[in-house]
């Protein structure tokens, strides 16, 4: 089997470049009457220029809240209580004074700078294409509005740009479709229109939150191929959030595996799938039936179920379900995320004894 060139290339290139986005020890908590939900509890990762970073995890792992934190869209009672989100608009540093960092957690949520970044430099492809467009306005009006919010162009120019974006994402006869309402479009076209809107201002970073979960496999294949093409063409980075390991394997260069608000393991896509370290990653991969598993034979399972976010276990969040948990250690102390292989940090005491925060 040939090694996918994109994965290794991106890592190699990344070595002499600075990350476009660095999330460091991010903590986003929700203060509820019943207690505090630590939805994101000390998450760190980097996004290199031009790479697709996959964030994979099951429900309650904090992947969506991480995404919302980056875009500063966390709604009350949620609050970023710690950590940094360092955004570097010019990571290569070619523009003289390059390398400036902006800590997005320090910006005002609805301030001018954050509003310019959100949608202009960091754009979102949401999960539900039906809920993301207003049914009262044509998709053209909504894309034009997004363009004019971030760029100083006339209505006419914006309209031409909207048509161009729609053409780029493969919407047939975009001149007519620009005047269509979202409910007149099929699921696949609607998702393409959403992507066109996200791309309308040439963002440096696209955050795609389960962009293909609501659509059929044949349409999903089209959308994934489209995202890959567009990414190659524009060189933007993508954070791709999904629960689908198949999708991650197909699109990501590097992968972050999350569980209950923490990063369990991080690494290049090939290592995550072919040399997983963390017991959770291993269990997750084994429990998915794929086209090669023996039919009607019991699948290896992960014992138990995902704990309620209010009742997170002490120590390593995975220890109650972990087959290799070390009594007296895993249930007491939280393992730090430390490199095991050069490029693959793991938060697990099977590999090191470093405790989080010490």
């Amino acid at each position: 089997m040939p090694q996918t060139p994109t994965a290794t290339e991106a890592t190699r290139k990344g070595a002499d470049r600075r990350p476009l986005l660095s999330v460091r020890g991010l903590k986003t908590y929700f203060e509820l009457d019943e207690g505090t939900v630590r939805a994101v509890d000390g998450v760190s990762f980097d996004v290199m220029p031009g790479e697709v970073l996959g964030i994979v995890g099951e429900s309650g792992c904090g992947k969506s809240i991480t995404m919302k934190s980056i875009l500063r869209l966390v709604a009350k009672p949620g609050r970023i209580v710690g950590g940094e989100i360092l955004y570097r608009p010019d990571p290569v540093g070619r523009a003289g004074g390059g390398g400036a960092e902006i800590d997005l957690t320090k910006l005002r949520k609805d301030g001018r700078r954050m509003r310019n970044i959100r949608g202009g430099e960091i754009a979102l492809i949401p999960q539900e294409p039906m809920a993301s467009f207003s049914p009262l306005h044509t998709i053209g009006e909504q894309i034009i509005e997004a363009i004019r919010l971030h760029q100083d162009v006339s209505k006419k120019e914006a309209r031409a740009m909207a048509i161009e974006r729609l053409r780029e994402v493969g919407v047939p006869s975009p001149e007519q479709r620009v005047g269509a309402y979202s409910w007149q479009l099929s699921g696949g076209l609607r998702q393409r229109a959403i992507i066109a809107m996200a791309l309308s201002c040439h963002p440096k970073l696209l955050v795609a939150d389960e962009p293909t979960t609501a659509i059929d496999v044949t349409t999903q294949a089209q959308v994934l191929a489209l995202l890959r093409e567009l990414q190659a063409e524009h060189g933007s980075s993508i954070i791709f959030i999904t629960h689908d390991l198949g999708v991650i394997a197909q699109v990501a260069d590097r992968v972050v595996v999350m569980y209950l608000g923490r990063v369990m393991e991080r690494g290049p896509v090939d290592d995550i799938f072919h040399a997983p370290k963390h017991p959770y990653t291993k269990a997750l991969l084994r429990s998915v039936p794929n086209m090669d598993t023996e039919p009607r034979v019991a699948l290896p399972t992960v014992e138990g179920s995902i704990p309620h976010p209010l009742h997170k276990p002490t120590g390593c969040p995975f220890h109650p379900r972990c087959p290799d948990a070390i009594p007296g250690l895993c249930d007491v102390k939280v393992p730090a995320l430390r490199p095991v292989d050069s490029d693959q940090p793991v938060a697990c005491f099977l590999y090191h004894r470093e405790v989080e925060g010490e």
Binding site: P2, E58, V217, A221, L224, A249, Q250, D270, M291, P300
Partner: protein, 381 residues
């Protein structure tokens, strides 16, 4: 194909011999079905009218299910797959009579020599049918009443069907909870106390309360998390084996379908385009749509990042289907014949039926065999 023809002559011959009991016009004669057959759906149609115009007259029909033939044998798992809007759910709902079919026969064996046509049952006759046929729904959060505890939820079908003694019901509920891997003490708890996977176990326990013969599972694991999905799949397989159940498994996820089923039927715009035992269907598909559907499944292996054959266009509108073969506008192999003539479902290899004019001449890619399973290839080394 030959089945249907053979059966009608059979039926005619035996109908004359057996006196039909009064008021039981729905009962077909047992000999109409081979002994191993549990369910036989013939020429099933379900059209939904499109109302339009000023007076709300019917201006057309959405042919959600359009002449579907399928059968399930005792102890067999048949999967119905297809993309959204292909009619797989409507077909399963017709089988249960949750919706009334427009036409067609749904022959169901309720006893060794008793076969009924579900399509002709009156509403009053449905309750005894549902003792034999049960459903597992997709959403374990929406299908359990939050104000009832597990004893009431699982015990209700027993009560409705005449198990009046509370102690008897408690014993049975405890037994059922054990069967699905939950502790019997849980019967006094309410659904909110359980996770998605546990709720789906409760749904399964309720479905099994009356010892049904057929379980219709509509996307029974799609709403569950990956780590929990495997538990429920294992449970479904174990119960099938232990209780000799048959499943009509409606799903869109081909990896799961390949894992669980004995046979698979692929639907496209209201019609079955291919049906075959699981192995030949996946390794040597005969319909271009089946092949394209399999190619579109993202493989959980970054080394197999092949160029997925991208199927152009989208699923046809069942209210305005294209001429000829419904798949022809998207099919890379379509000819003039495909545009003009609707292909019939025909047996091309033993047990392998396909509705494609060019089935014999095409050599379509299926799923490759024999690649090491994931997470183990380098992990243990």
């Amino acid at each position: 194909m030959s089945e249907a023809g053979a059966v009608t002559t059979h039926q005619a011959a035996t109908e004359a011999a057996t006196p039909v009991r009064a008021g039981e016009r729905t009962r077909a004669v047992a000999h109409a079905l081979p002994p191993e057959r549990l369910l036989d759906v013939r020429h099933l149609k379900k059209y939904f009218p499109i109302k339009g115009g000023f007076f709300g007259s019917t201006v057309g029909a959405v042919k959600a299910v359009d002449d579907v033939n399928l059968h399930v044998d005792t102890g067999e798992i048949l999967s119905l797959v297809g993309e959204s809007g292909c009619g797989k759910t409507t077909t399963s709902r017709c089988v249960l009579r949750a919706v009334n079919p427009t036409s067609g026969e749904i022959l169901f064996r309720i006893g060794d020599d008793e076969v009924i046509d579900v399509a002709k049952l009156s509403d009053r006759e449905l309750r005894p049918l549902w003792r034999n046929m049960q459903m597992i729904f997709q959403d374990p959060f929406g299908s359990l009443n939050p104000r009832k505890n597990l004893f009431d939820i699982i015990g209700e079908p027993l009560l409705v069907n005449g198990v009046k003694s509370r102690q008897e019901r408690m014993d049975r509920v405890a037994e059922l909870l054990g069967l699905v891997g939950l502790r019997p003490e849980y019967m006094h708890r309410y659904p909110h106390a359980f996770s998605g996977g546990q709720r789906q176990r409760v749904v399964i326990a309720r479905a099994l309360a009356l010892n049904p013969k057929l379980v219709v599972a509509d996307e029974a694991v799609s709403a569950l998390d990956v780590s929990v999905q495997a538990q429920i799949l294992n449970l479904l397989l174990e119960l099938q084996e232990r209780l000799g159940l048959s499943y009509l498994f409606v799903a869109h996820d081909l990896s799961i379908v390949k894992h669980i089923s004995h046979r698979v039927a692929v639907m496209y715009v209201g019609k079955i385009v291919e049906t075959a035992p699981t192995d030949p269907l996946f390794h040597a598909p005969l319909h271009p749509y089946t092949s394209a559907l399999m190619a579109a499944v993202p493989q959980a292996d970054p080394r197999r990042r092949s160029e997925m054959i991208r199927l152009e266009g989208e699923v046809a509108n069942p209210a305005k289907p294209p001429s000829g073969c419904y798949f022809h506008p998207r099919c890379p192999f379509a000819t003039a014949q495909c545009k003009a003539e609707t292909p019939l479902l025909r047996e091309v290899r033993p047990g392998h039926f396909v509705a494609c004019h060019r089935a014999e001449e095409l050599d379509l890619p299926g799923v490759e065999r024999g690649t090491p399973s994931l997470g183990t290839s380098r992990a243990e080394g």
